[in-house]
């Protein structure tokens, strides 16, 4: 049952307090932290690319190289790229750790990501028809979406999406604008032309393919093929990891969806409420949180997308208490428990729902 407006106003006030308490602590420690993560990521990348070439000594080196490079890509995309591009570290005023200019080791052009992810996904979280992150236009994950026969195979579509996740992310805005296929809308809200969008998509994709599958294999000489395969494996590992973590953030069993009509003119309290119902957390050790880019605190991330990720774990306790106080559900659990419900959800909505009603989940 949805809490009344008065409750939500008080709830918003408490959350605003948590936010300003967290921001008041932000300073040197956060700056040192993100620089340290950047150092670790760059070290992993160099170590990974070198040890992979040493694979001719023993395959163990190759495996170490692949894991190290995958770790570099995961840190770059999750804890560094995603958080920096949300503006979490803009207060540092460091031109190299800046949301506006940051570019990541991912096929997706960072400008495109900033447009659709920061705006569309974070403003219209889980609103069916507005937030294309909900199922990515591929998967049916709620009754609000009409069943089609292709949904019968959606578990395989999901597996493919996971394996190729960075390309899915890169293609997201291109798909929404029907750049290659589909019927285009007459007016585009894109701040750039469709041609520029297409060119940026190709430019970034080509650059990523060139370095991993042409440049580094070529300079490895006789190790061309092992290095190419190693880079491919590192990319696949990163894709699987990011996709899995992100699915755990929004598609677990009890995550709610919304209709646009429910969210028009919503107050800050209603917005906070929707962010909490639309997200789910993961529990785990510290290293696990870092590898997820603190998306294990998806709820806190959606409440405060520009509070430095370094603060999310602290904030999470306070948020959970506030939710308890107002009797608002707070969805958290271990990785395996949460992921099992994701798989269940993907399979469940593969089939048409019996006695399907057109209403959304009670929100």
């Amino acid at each position: 049952m949805k809490p009344d407006q008065q409750t939500l106003d008080a709830f918003a006030k408490d959350l605003d307090q948590i936010r300003s308490d967290a921001l008041a602590k932000v300073g040197e420690a956060d700056a040192n932290y993100i620089r340290k993560v950047i150092r670790v990521q760059r070290t992993c990348e160099i170590v990974g690319r070198i040890t992979m070439v040493l694979g001719f000594l023993s395959p163990v080196w190759w495996v170490v190289g692949v894991l190290s490079l995958a770790l570099s890509k995961i840190l770059d995309n999750m804890e560094i790229g995603h958080n920096v591009m949300h503006g979490q570290y803009d207060w540092m005023n460091d031109p190299n750790i800046q949301s506006k200019t940051f570019e990541w080791d991912n096929a997706c052009d960072a400008d495109s990501w900033r447009r659709y992810h920061n705006h569309e996904h974070h403003t219209y979280t889980n609103i069916i028809g507005k937030d294309r992150d909900f199922g990515y236009g591929l998967l049916r994950l709620s009754d609000d979406i009409r069943w089609k026969p292709k949904n019968l195979y959606q578990f395989f579509a999901y597996m493919n999406l996971s394996l190729l996740f960075q390309w899915g992310v890169a293609y997201h805005e291109v798909a929404a604008e029907r750049i290659f296929i589909g019927k285009r809308k007459k007016v585009s809200k894109l701040p750039i032309s469709r041609k520029e969008l297409r060119n940026a998509f190709f430019k970034k994709g080509t650059r990523q393919l060139f370095k991993d599958y042409v440049f580094f294999p070529l300079i490895s000489g006789p190790m061309f093929l092992p290095v190419l395969l190693g880079n491919f494996s590192a990319n696949i590992l990163r894709n699987l990891w990011t996709s899995t973590i992100i699915f755990c953030g929004h598609f677990t069993e009890n995550v709610h969806t919304f209709k646009m009509s429910e969210c028009e003119n919503e107050t800050r309290g209603q917005w906070y409420y929707r962010q909490i119902l639309g997200s789910s957390n993961l529990t785990g050790p510290r290293w696990f949180h870092i590898l997820t880019g603190h998306l294990s605190c998806q709820i806190e991330h959606h409440l405060f997308p520009d509070v430095p990720s370094y603060r999310y774990l602290d904030v999470a306790d306070a948020v959970q208490q506030v939710c308890k106080k107002y009797d608002i559900p707070y969805n958290t659990g271990s990785f395996f428990k949460q992921y099992a419900t994701v798989v269940k959800r993907v399979i469940k909505y593969s089939f048409p729902t019996k006695g399907r009603s057109l209403t959304t989940h009670t929100a």
């Binding site: 300003s20 921001l23 932000v26 300073g27 040197e28 420690a29 956060d30 700056a31 040192n32 620089r35 340290k36 950047i38 150092r39 760059r42 990348e45 949300h86 503006g87 803009d90 207060w91 540092m92 005023n93 460091d94 031109p95 190299n96 800046q98 949301s99 506006k100 570019e103 990541w104 080791d105 900033r114 447009r115 920061n118 705006h119 974070h122 403003t123 701040p191 650059r207 060139f210 370095k211 440049f215 997308p305 520009d306």
Partner: protein, 383 residues
Amino acid sequence: MSTHPQTTSERPQGTLSSAATWLARTLFNLPSFTVFAEPFIQLVKPNWQSQGYRCTVVGNKAELEDVFTLTLTAPRRFPAFLAGQYVDISLNRNGVRYTRTFSISSSPEDLAEQGTLELTIRIQESGALTPWMAKALTAGTPIHISAAQGQFVLREEQNPILMIAGGSGITPFRSMLRHLKHQQQSSNRSTPQRPITLLYFARNFLFKDEFRALQHSMPNLNIHWVCTTQSDHLNQALIEQVCPDYRLRQHYICGPHSLIKASRDVLSASGVAPEYIHYEYFGAEPLSLPAEVLAASKDSPIVQFAHSHQAVPHNPAQSLLELAEANDLKPLHGCRRGVCHQCLCKKNSGVVYNTLTQKYSDTGPEEIQLCVSVPVTSVSIDL
């Protein structure tokens, strides 16, 4: 913090360095390999930055109660500058990089001979940085500066000069006078030197002894000290009195907005051509706005859109994004509620209030979210 067109000339890149730039972009999605190395170098040299020139503080001397002079050793590759120019310094404090602009108060010859630069800095009472700088920047502290920039430099022509300085606006003139003295000493003694008059308004005078000594060694230099706690401010009678031939001179003005505006008005009313009036200001450009704009603004801050050369009074009901849109600008934006950071835009100077974080900004250049920011003081926005 002048917004004059900047004179820093980007060095044309050689084939090798553009290949390196391309490679850094392709392999690491970074603007250069130096940026890749930056966080590692910072382990050894805290606050090291890939941009600019790393200097070391060698002296921090109190000039007055609220003014101090920093002496820095500049690295050899620091490019030569012209007397009157300024540098941006950037400092890290509590994880935040602050940028501030200060005129160089030493001469190019000081740099050539001793390898040092001097910056004379006024402590802003409520400033985030200057009170701290006066205490924290002790000998040995590393500090990053930009190349010297600015158009407020002595013109080639050998006309007589009138300098008008207000308060800490004296700093570029100290650089110019030291430079002129050096030039005179090294030139032929028999050539007559052009007259130089300095009209110096202040409550407390900086460089008193040094200027008196300069007057001794430079017979063509005339300094008029006007103590603003006792006598009148600038007007035509005063200029006539200290410098009767001012209509024939090159004019250099540096100081508070009010002094620049008053001097400009007096000089142009006496028929001095604008190309003979040079001025340097700090903060947003001192505009002589049309009367209707001023009337409409009442006391509200003026927002300057630097790129489109517009200055408009702020409407308290609007965010900077709405104000920009109301003036036919189309800044990139997304959610309009401070979530998505699409509308980040560079603020060159001035203080803004972020309605979402409920925080006041710094006065220096930084990126702000237009959709949730309102101006507190007059601001200059890079739009």
